[in-house]
């Protein structure tokens, strides 16, 4: 970064990056400034991840990077090199059924326009892995950093609790390990 000057136009310098997204390995060549969100959406065409503010406040672009919920608009694609990433497209069970969090959103009318929804789904999926039986107060904390303009959050809070219930009744096997690893590479 200290070398930044007239000779290094921001679009100069392409980098080879390997991303394992939803279990599928992708090798992409990107400029250093390419946001992870843009790389996922426009280079890999995984458009389920949405961009609502590009300054890390709304949470719509949240993805799992090595199991941690990350705002993909605040991360450069080059810095995700080698990472295992889960996007909303990778949340369903291997047989295509909705994950507990996705199912809970359908059950509770937790979405309207659906634009912020992928970010909520990822955020909640990550949180429930560490907090499988949240109280209502904790459910609010889990979604406390994501913006939604449609639902007034009422049914999203219910969906968090419902998702936890579905997850527990499935013995914790469902939705506990989103397809971050390489398990599904062959199936794709």
């Amino acid at each position: 970064m200290t070398e930044f000057g007239a000779s290094t136009h921001p679009s100069d310098g392409l980098f080879d990056v390997r991303l394992v997204v939803n279990g599928v390995t992708h090798d992409v060549r990107v400029p250093s400034r390419r946001l992870l969100s843009d790389c996922l959406r426009h280079d890999l065409r995984l458009t389920g991840t949405h961009v609502g503010c590009e300054h890390g406040v709304c949470g719509a672009c949240t993805v799992l990077v090595d199991g941690t919920a990350v705002r993909s608009c605040l991360m450069l694609a080059v810095s995700a090199d080698g990472a295992a990433i889960t996007t909303v497209e990778g949340l369903t069970e291997p047989d295509g059924t909705l994950s507990p969090v996705q199912q809970a959103f359908a059950d509770c009318h937790g979405l309207q326009c659906g634009f912020c929804t992928p970010g909520f789904l990822i955020t909640i999926t990550a949180a429930l892995a560490g907090s499988p039986d949240p109280s209502e107060a904790v459910a609010r904390e889990i979604i406390g950093g994501n913006l939604c303009r449609c639902t007034g959050y009422q049914n999203i809070v219910r969906a968090v609790l419902r998702a936890a219930e579905l997850r527990r009744s499935a013995g914790g096997s469902l939705g506990s390990s989103p397809r971050a690893g390489t398990a599904r590479a062959a199936a794709s």
């Binding site: 136009h9 909303v88 359908a106 659906g114 634009f115 912020c116 303009r149």
Partner: protein
Amino acid sequence: MTAMFGEPIPRVEDDRLLRGGGAYLDDLGHDALAVAYVRSPHAHARVLGIDVSGALDVDGVAAIYTYQDLQGRLAEPLPLLIPHPALTHGRTGYPLAAGEVNYVGEPVAMVIAADRYLAEDAAELIMVDYEPLPAVVGVDEARAAGHLVHDDVPGNVAGHLVQEHGDAAAAIAAAPRTLDLDLYVERSASTPLEGRGVLARWDPESRRLRIWTSTQTSTGVRAAVAAKLGLALADVDVITPDVGGGFGVKIVHPWPEEVLVPWAARALGRPVKYTEDRLEHFVASAHERGQRHQVRVGFDDDGRLLGLDVRFWHDNGAYIPYGLIVPIITSTQLLGPYKPGAYRVEFSSLYTNTVIVAPYRGAGRPQGVFVMERTMDAIAAALGLDRTVVRERNFIRPEEMPYDHGLIFQDGRPLIYDSGDYPAVLAKLKALIGWDGFAAERAAALEQGRRLGIGLACYVEGTGVGPYEGAHVVVETSGKVKVATGLTSQGQGHQTVLAQITADELGVPIGDIEVVTGDTRAFGYAVGTFASRTAVMSGSAVALAARAVRAKAIRVAAAALEASPEDMEITDGIVRIKGDPESGIAIGTVAVLSNPLRYAFDEAAQAATQFAGGDIDAPPVAEGDEPGIEGRQFFSPIRSTFASGMHAAIVETDQETAEIKVLRYCVVHDCGTLINPRIVEGQIHGGVAQGVGGALYERMAYDETGQLQNASFMDFLMPYVSEVPERIEIDHLQTPSPLNPLGVKGAGEAGVIPGAALFAAAIEDAEQLPITSMPISPSDLFELRRNAAASAALWPSGPAGRGARGERPLADGAAPDTAGHGR
């Protein structure tokens, strides 16, 4: 088969959206060139010159356009969408600034490049020479007219309208009591999570244009772009993809970007896409709500209104493409559920050097309700009456319906309420929140050192405005039913509710129904999605079309079965003789039979071919008949239908920090017959959250030079979950509308409408301080307390300096020491 209408079924939209399968504007057109705009950094300036030479060599740049490049109708101002005789000085902007800029964010140059990064690189290198001019910011500066936004618009007045029913001045002069209030509401904005965006493809071989745009009116965009580019309507398709929220801002059309992108796509012969970013959305789309109001009201000793005179000033921003709609709505809808006595309203719509106004969910009603409900509370305070009693005394009674206010509404039609039962709504609300028991609650809290307040606000909302919507329903030979209506969806669940209506009207399983909205290829005649009109307008059109289709399916099946149509029914997609389940023909087969064929395309189709039988002495398609089981119908009501509702809230205000906490939030809502209660409640939830935002958090912080200081989600405080009430308690009343075949009224906007009025009332009740300006933040409240303390020190005997002629203290509950409303 279970009836679908009225059932809280899950949405048919959800599965796809939950899997990441939504297709929003920026998810499309991966092959398209990207657009970035050079936008004005000044609120008001002359553009002396634009030097693009430094940008031309940037890698990947395909084209750069300025106003000089625009030709023909594209070089003219954008359309004034809703003309009105009172809009005497309507001005609209150009697609790219033509010598002058009038708000920060106005587009000056358009850069098209291989991707957005490169387009922004180039945009940064374009040098624009501006001569700054004085900026007019806010209602008060616009009124003062020390400077003009447009040189040829005296006083900054775009339009001025007066309506009067009865002689308000005389009624107020003769009234035993009067009050004056000065009431202000600040700007806020729709702020959908997805901004605007448009993608265009020009097909040079068929010479046709295809546009995808994140809009609330695809037919409106189609007509406007066709006119601007000199194309036949038939050569332009406009498709609304999934839209990430609208709330009003996306009804404005064509945006500068919406005409420039298709134009550039045609000029370059390449697909072109523009995706608005968040900063652009804040500064360069649209805001709403900014109005200052002066109220003079005359009433009797029982609190009955005798005369009401309201003057207000509306901040319409730099241009006025959407006309006077917002202030007209305020001026008519502020009457709410009340009989005002004689009523006079006068407003001026004023230009300022800020971004334009588009209707934002509620569209002028939140301000109107704020005005009327503050007035009601002031009257109650002046008379020492319970606030619900004053309202009750002024309600239009159910037996007075339909009620004619003697005014003209936003659709150019008389303001006549079709139905409603306001006393019943109030009774439900009082029961729901425990209005009568609150005094004890307040006293108990006070003993613990906690300060509580209760408030309520009532509204009536004209919904389902015309002129019309239409629908097409067709039964495929597979038995699947395709429904199309022209208005657009932004997440309201239209596919679900329109499928529910179709399922019941036609008698087919809901899973066999597919609904398309906002695609001019599927249905070319439509108005758009605004004013809570989809259920009323398209819902009714779908019902009428489905009824026509049902009648035809029965007629064709009856002929095939040699039965009388009156004896037939359709259940679960089977057309059959009533009481004879064995007699049925699948509706898809009926569709085959309805279309006499020469060529069989599959086994089922053989039954409709020429050698398969039938009356050889009659024409295969009877005179006046058509092949196919399909129907197209339009619904065009004589005027709007009026939904209503009342909200109540209990708040706690922190004695030290002035933090405002919502303890209870109750809604009683009457949108006529409910199609899907789950979806209606979802609409209310979202509206209430926006109401909370507008009342307590959101403001557009323009500085004196017209720079928006809080144009990000860091600084514009859109509610997170932590800001909305933990519970929104909802009860419904269902007063069917007599104006449409379903008895429905709109529900989309209701939740947001009473927000400002409600919180002002509850905070005023808690604090015993007059609240006359919204939104109110903890620091605003802190200042009000400090000013009140200073004023109490000046006038130890009471709040004489504050009140108008409000003589007695607030009444509901054990109101303590101060009073006085209005300033």
